[in-house]
Amino acid sequence: MTTATPATPAMSSSHRAAARTAEAVVSTRRRKPLDPFRMVAFVILAVLAVAWLVPVLWAVLTSFKSEAEAAALPVRIIPEGGFTLDAYIQTLSSSMVPRWAWNSLLTSTLVTVITVAISALAGYALSRLRFAGRNVITMLIVASIMIPGQILIVPLFQLMLSLNLVDTYWGIVLPQVVAAPMVFILKKFFDQIPIELEEAALMDGASRLKIFWSIILPLSRPILGAVSIFVFIGAWNNFLWPFIVVNDANLMTLPTGLQTVISAYGIQYAQNMAQAVLAALPLIVVFLFFQRQIIKGIATTGIAGQ
């Protein structure tokens, strides 16, 4: 049995196995004729899947009602006065949702780019360079995975105060770029790239940085994609830290901004739902287009990282 903490080398479910597994997740196409067992399973699955979609559908439905109809009793599924785009027009024209969406996009992109860059560079050094202190660094990184980041909000906020980063984009971004598990995942992937490729390039006089850039990174595209997806989703949806470090409404991300709206105008149901739907939309659209890659990325990172 493999242990689940990244701390032990024994657990390293080989990365290739994880990738193969993840590939399998997206590519099963087993079509067999419907026997009674499969029909029952199909019905159960269909009921569950619809049940899972109901909260989303209910929110979407509400967002297309007028405020009066959304708050009208008795509750009607289909509004008497028909559907309207009012809530969306209101939200997009006079609320800060577009601004927050931009802030989310900007900060999440920065978090992703920086995290992947510094983790890949460190992962490469730990994988390929034999240097004094390497084992200490590896142990430190692995041990740090035990620290739950959430308990650090208090000292981290103090640190941000003294760095003058409270209420800034960098204040949101910087503490999120430390992702010890990602360093580990990338290191494990680099470990499996044949060393001969690199030695040949070294012989030809290529510099390490050049090798990293033009040999290692191109070969690592799948894992870099997986890690990026994982980090981006985490940053896009992060609530606690942006909520602590930003008070200026102009700098809020979507999750934190929406929270202030709920507390401020709790009674505008249709608009609340329109905002939530708009906030959910970007990732859902991205998911619909890149379902395979995203599921693969999550499965790979989720398995290999843990």
Binding site: A4, A7, L53, A70, A71, L126, P148, L258, Q275, L283
Partner: protein, 316 residues
């Protein structure tokens, strides 16, 4: 890399070896410098945003620091003693534990059931994955909005639907006896997709031959599930369970957004209490002490897990 340049096939064996050894030595020295340089961007961020706050937080727990940064004098164990005697600390730790138990069990079982059902290979694969996994992509705020609206006592779909069957609904989130359950249901809906994916991946890694052999031996579907699927999934179950326990212990977002910890503190998890003490009560030193008590409990659980799993692997 400059050291390898002199290595040409024309060098005599003797000088070649010397050259090689010297090159290796030089390379090792330059590797040390290079290694630290390559690691430094990560290490700087790591030290500044993870190690330093961890150390500084421990120091703060021995001071009377307030949000304004005043009163930083050393107060010894005062905060710790106060925290251990604070009924809110214990009740919020209790709520955290209760939430963890209530959420982890369905989050593992439901994920397993969904994965097994989807893995049968029925048509509509993309639709099943979309339905069960999509909520995982939503921000906590969006999820909370959706469910507060679903559970709205007068206007929500849940009570409306119960009304169709003549059942009178409740104010789920405002009633201390149901608020936690409502939060747990929301959490299961939101995050089961991740565990579902891990299980699905594991299921598809089980060799098909095992099932073929079993059905040749006359084992039925249930028997195959119990004797092949469940044991083969054991490592994944341990993984999912541990990840889920650690994730559930850190609950904050959806509870803060849905109930604010209420009614009457009945859903308040420890992280929310830390937030309240530190950021609305301005007592950062005291909040740090509570954080560390929580941290030590998490470490205890992790160590206990490691001891148990290493003992089990020794036995195996």
């Amino acid at each position: 890399m400059t050291t390898a340049e002199g290595l040409t096939p024309t060098t005599t064996p003797a000088s070649g070896t010397a050259h090689l050894a010297e090159g290796r030595r030089r390379r090792r020295r330059s590797d040390t410098l290079r290694g630290w340089i390559y690691c430094s961007p990560f290490l700087i961020a790591f030290g500044l945003f993870l190690i330093w706050p961890t150390v500084y937080g421990l120091w703060m727990s021995f001071t009377g620091t307030s949000l304004a940064g005043t009163n930083t004098e050393f107060v010894g164990l005062t905060n710790w003693i106060e925290a251990l005697g604070d009924p809110n600390v214990w009740s919020s730790l209790g709520n955290t534990a209760w939430f963890t138990i209530l959420s982890t069990i369905p989050l593992v079982l439901v994920a397993l059931i969904l994965a097994v059902l989807v893995n049968i290979g029925l048509p509509g694969q993309w639709f099943w994955r979309l339905s069960f996994f999509m909520p995982f992509l939503l921000a906590s705020t969006v999820v909370s909005q959706f469910w507060v609206w679903m559970l709205n006592p007068q206007l929500g779909l849940v009570n409306t639907a119960l009304g169709w069957f003549g059942i009178e609904g409740k104010a789920w989130l405002q009633d201390p006896s149901t608020a936690m359950i409502a939060v747990v249901v929301t959490t299961v809906w939101w995050t089961v997709g991740f565990n579902f994916l891990l299980y699905l991946a594991a299921l598809q890694n089980i060799p098909e031959q095992l099932y073929e052999a079993a059905s040749l031996d006359g084992a039925g579907r249930w028997r195959q599930f119990v004797s092949i699927t469940v044991p083969q999934l054991a490592p994944t179950t341990v993984l999912v369970l541990v990840l889920q326990l650690l994730a559930s212990l850190k609950v904050f977002d959806q509870i803060y957004q849905m109930t604010g910890g209420g009614p009457g503190g009945s859903t308040r998890p420890v992280l929310l209490y830390i937030y309240e003490v530190g950021f609305t009560g301005y007592r950062l030193g005291y909040a740090s002490a509570i954080s560390y008590i929580f941290f030590f409990l998490i470490i205890l659980i992790s160590v206990a897990y490691m001891v148990i799993s290493s003992r089990r692997s020794v036995k195996a």
